[in-house]
């Protein structure tokens, strides 16, 4: 059932390509219907899954037997959470892009192609298939930014594409090496993740392969110091692009770290655990600190994404159940919240005011002109700060709990990062919407277009998602938690379960 998310999305791409060139309306409707269909299928498929702890096979057919590759789609609880996130992000992204006029059908075609690839990554349990879907997402990303973006779009797009490509090639090296070694141990070639997770790779081998594969994926997750593509890319991208990039694509990297690097090389993780945690916390603090001094509204959000992903990586580095639970929940939570933040800044503010500079925005009194945007941003900011009641709190809570026993000093630093997070969010709220600067008379002559229905819908949808999970985290925890008790993660957690 869940595989249909992929197929429906790509079918949507096909339909979009066949539409007549200038009919923007038809393009939007087709895209929205496809995304909603995918989202519904994701929800239904996820709820139907009887046993989220186990990996439930969706389809497994031989693909290239000579190298042991199968067309193997499956899902466990972690996949379910991320698939649901993708569904939500896809729909809200389209709602926030309702106003794209320039070459609309191509925009949505690339957009849906990206979504389809993302669904594919989260559902693949064959390494080659996962890699294929992972690489597949790079091209639509590039075109979405280069063609429909704003500030330095071509540079931002190229930087993002190249970083992603380099990262995925680092992973490729590791994968091929692992495939060879596994072949020797298993006696036959295999790219099946579950089979490979049982192979005992030599320790010396894991010592260099694990960092290679982990860093390869972590580049896409925005790990410090390989994060520099993220702020530039997010700022350059059009709103829906940023929402997807920060919301979902960065999670591809983190998912790869968890599903591939950590599951296949458990001893390798342990060897590098401390370094990963240090880099993660560096990202948390650095991202927050730099966000505090930005003049461009979108850069604040871009750096805040780096900071939040630091929490995901910290959670992964704890190697205990609570930390890992928190990491996956943070992936979901930040996906929603980042989508909301970029939706407000990109669509509600920038598309109307055509500026993202705080010095200009301060004089516009946006809190009074577009109050819906102001309130939405405040709520999103509260969620982003990690205040209780929203999903971010539960996630960060668990990550910190998991990190305490293993890295107490780093945990305190992470706490400092949270405080800086409060500071930059407050600054953004103040300067962007509720500043006390004297209003500029020029702006009063041009009343801003009111917030449209699709924007309201998208915003409410995302806020509701964050609130629901904030108050009822069990909804997702019941999917995530059992996974870490399953055989797939046994070797990873042995000796560190909490």
């Amino acid at each position: 059932m869940l595989a249909w998310t992929i197929y429906i999305t790509f079918f949507g791409v096909l339909v979009l390509m066949l539409l007549p060139r200038d009919n923007a309306r038809a393009a939007r409707i087709v895209a929205l219907l496809t995304a909603i269909a995918g989202c519904v299928v994701a929800f239904v498929g996820a709820i139907q899954q009887a046993n989220p702890g186990d990996v439930t096979t969706i389809v497994k057919v031989p693909w290239i037997p000579s190298i042991g590759a199968n067309y193997y789609l499956a899902a466990d609880g972690i996949s379910l959470v991320l698939v649901v996130l993708t569904g939500l992000a896809a729909v809200s992204g389209i709602l926030f892009s309702w106003n794209i006029e320039k070459r609309t059908k191509e925009f949505f075609a690339f957009y849906l192609a990206l979504i389809g690839g993302v669904y594919g990554v989260f559902l693949s349990f064959d390494l080659l298939l996962l890699f294929v879907f992972y690489e597949l997402t790079i091209i639509p990303k590039y075109f979405l930014i280069a063609r429909w973006g704003s500030t330095r779009k071509e540079y931002g797009a190229m930087k993002l594409a190249l970083y992603s490509f380099v990262g995925s090639h680092l992973v490729l090296i590791g994968l091929i090496a692992a495939w060879v070694v596994a072949k020797g141990q298993l006696g036959h070639a295999s790219l099946d993740l579950i089979e490979l997770s049982k192979v005992a790779f030599p320790i010396a081998f894991q010592h260099w392969v694990f960092p290679l594969v982990f860093v390869g994926f972590a580049i896409l997750a925005g790990m410090w110091p390989f994060h520099t593509w993220a702020p530039t890319g997010h700022v350059a991208a059009p709103t829906a692009g940023s929402m997807l990039l920060a919301g979902v694509v960065m999670k591809l990297g983190a998912y790869g770290c968890l599903r591939v690097a950590m599951v296949m090389f458990p001893e390798g993780v342990r060897m590098w655990q401390g370094e990963i945690a240090c880099l993660a916390v560096a990202g948390i603090v650095y991202g927050a600190g730099v966000a505090l001094v930005q003049r461009d509204f979108k850069f604040v959000i871009g750096y805040s994404s780096v900071s939040h992903m630091g929490f995901v990586l910290l959670g992964l580095a704890t190697l205990n159940t609570i930390g890992l639970d928190g990491a996956v929940l943070q992936m979901f939570s930040h996906g929603i919240i980042a989508g909301l933040l970029f939706g407000v800044v990109g669509r509600m503010v920038y598309d109307r005011t055509h500026t993202r500079d705080f010095n200009d925005l301060e004089t516009m009194q946006l809190g009074k002109l577009i109050p819906f945007a102001g309130v939405t941003f405040v709520i999103a900011g509260i969620a982003s700060m990690g205040l209780p009641g929203f999903s971010g709190f539960v996630a960060e809570f668990q990550v910190l709990m998991g990190a305490w026993t293993v890295f107490p000093k780093l945990t305190i630093l992470a706490g400092v990062g949270i405080i800086v997070g409060v500071a930059y969010t407050l600054r953004a709220v103040q300067k962007g919407f509720y500043s006390d600067a004297p209003p500029d008379a020029a702006h009063h002559d041009h009343p801003l277009e009111p917030i449209s229905i699709p924007e309201r819908f998208g915003a409410v949808m995302l806020i509701a998602a964050s609130l629901v999970i904030g108050f009822f985290p069990s909804l997702l925890m019941n999917w995530i938690e059992p996974c870490f008790k399953s055989p797939l993660f046994e070797r990873l957690l042995k000796g560190g379960a909490l």
Binding site: G389, G415, S435
Partner: protein, 511 residues
Amino acid sequence: MNHWLTILTLVPFIGGIVVAGLGAERKHLVRGLALATSLVGLGGAICLWLHFNAKSGDLQFVEKFDWVPTLGIQYFLGVDGLGALMVLLTAIVTPLAILASWNVEDRPHVFHALVLWLQAGLFGTFTALNFFHWFLFWELGLIPAFFLIKLWGGPKRGPAATQFFIYTMVGSVALLLSFLAIRLATGSFDFIELAGMAKSGVLTTKLQAAFGWKNIGLIIFFGAFLGFAVKVPVIPFHTWLSAAYSEAPSSVTMLLTGVMSKMGVYGFLRILLPIFPDQIRQVLTPLLWLAVATIVLSACAAFAQRDLKRIIAYSSINHLGYCLLALFAATAVATGVNNSDLQKAAALDGALLQMFNHGLTASALFLFVALLERRSGGLRGLDDFGGLRKIIPVFTGLMGIAIFSSLGLPGLNGFVGEFLIFKGVFPLAPWAAAISTIGLLVTAIFLLTLIQRVFCGPLNERWAKMPDLTTSERFLVLPSIALMFVLGIWPQFILGAVDATVVKLVQQLNF
């Protein structure tokens, strides 16, 4: 299973949503609905009080069920005497604050909604007994307060609001980290359970076992202490207060000083004392010093102020300092003192009473300042006025009562609390009590100075035509004044209800 407390918390929350949805146009509807909601809350709190079984020190109106079992998070509500008292205080101050802000013109629907949400957050904090959900309400209370200061405050409201928020957040993060550590070590977030562990000495051992540092208990205690110290506030974490209190609109300050500051003391009573008595004992002397410093230095600072609101703000710090003094003294294992239990009970009784009384008195004082500001067009400097008693005698009389209550005149409510505190603390920590009396002295000095400068002396011609209190305003201040007398003469009204709780707390600390 009854759901009193949940309903009590939900009423202002939903009321706030409805009010916000009404829009800026229907001002009268907005104000009326907000007032009605807060009065419903008051009714509910009074019902709670009446049904409260004063003889038992146990938790009542308990609601407890699992929320996220894997993380040890439960939805656990309950009140004992302390909780019921705080709920009542909140319920009394909120309608007064709403009435005081009747004339807010700028986006009244948002203003009143925020006030109601603040009330919901406060109700939630005072009734929650599991850390996660307590912390949720603790933090949730911050947001409305921030916006109330930021959007409707005075000229320097931006920095004041930001400072307030960030200070409190720093404390909250420290608190969060501490409790995460505790959960890791003990597997529990439940305050009651943790108190039990602390009493049997198991808590410290578990913490040491989990983390391997000998002094981990102390470090965790400091984290939690920071969270509450910022809120009360304790010197030296108080610097946010005078800016926030003076920039906030006066009705908001009523809430801030009347109830929100009690959150800090409540935290000490509900969380720090029962869970970390060992650690408090270890650092008792420095803590007592801090309490004394808070009392004395804030009084001196108040003396130096020129802005009425700032005077009362620093005076608030001073009054709460007495509560802290009582709390810390109550954990002392006093040697050579007969009936130390009795002394401790007295101190804690005094602290609780002081909390309630100060809430009442301080909010009344700020209300009076608001009324004065209305008449003076925003001026509230000490030197702006003079000889007002000739022009506005009723106002003078009523505000005078409030000031004397704050001063601690016998017969008014302020006296009883302070008396009990000193009665309890003197035997337990004599030198601390002795030095704190300086605070009493300085308070008297600056409050009398206030009366002298504002109301007595030569008439400031500028205010010759100042109108006295209108009938509606008299009705507004009447309840507070009445309560000041009632509680001054018959403190048993409160003490009767909380005594059992206090005794239980003392037993808790007795080891």
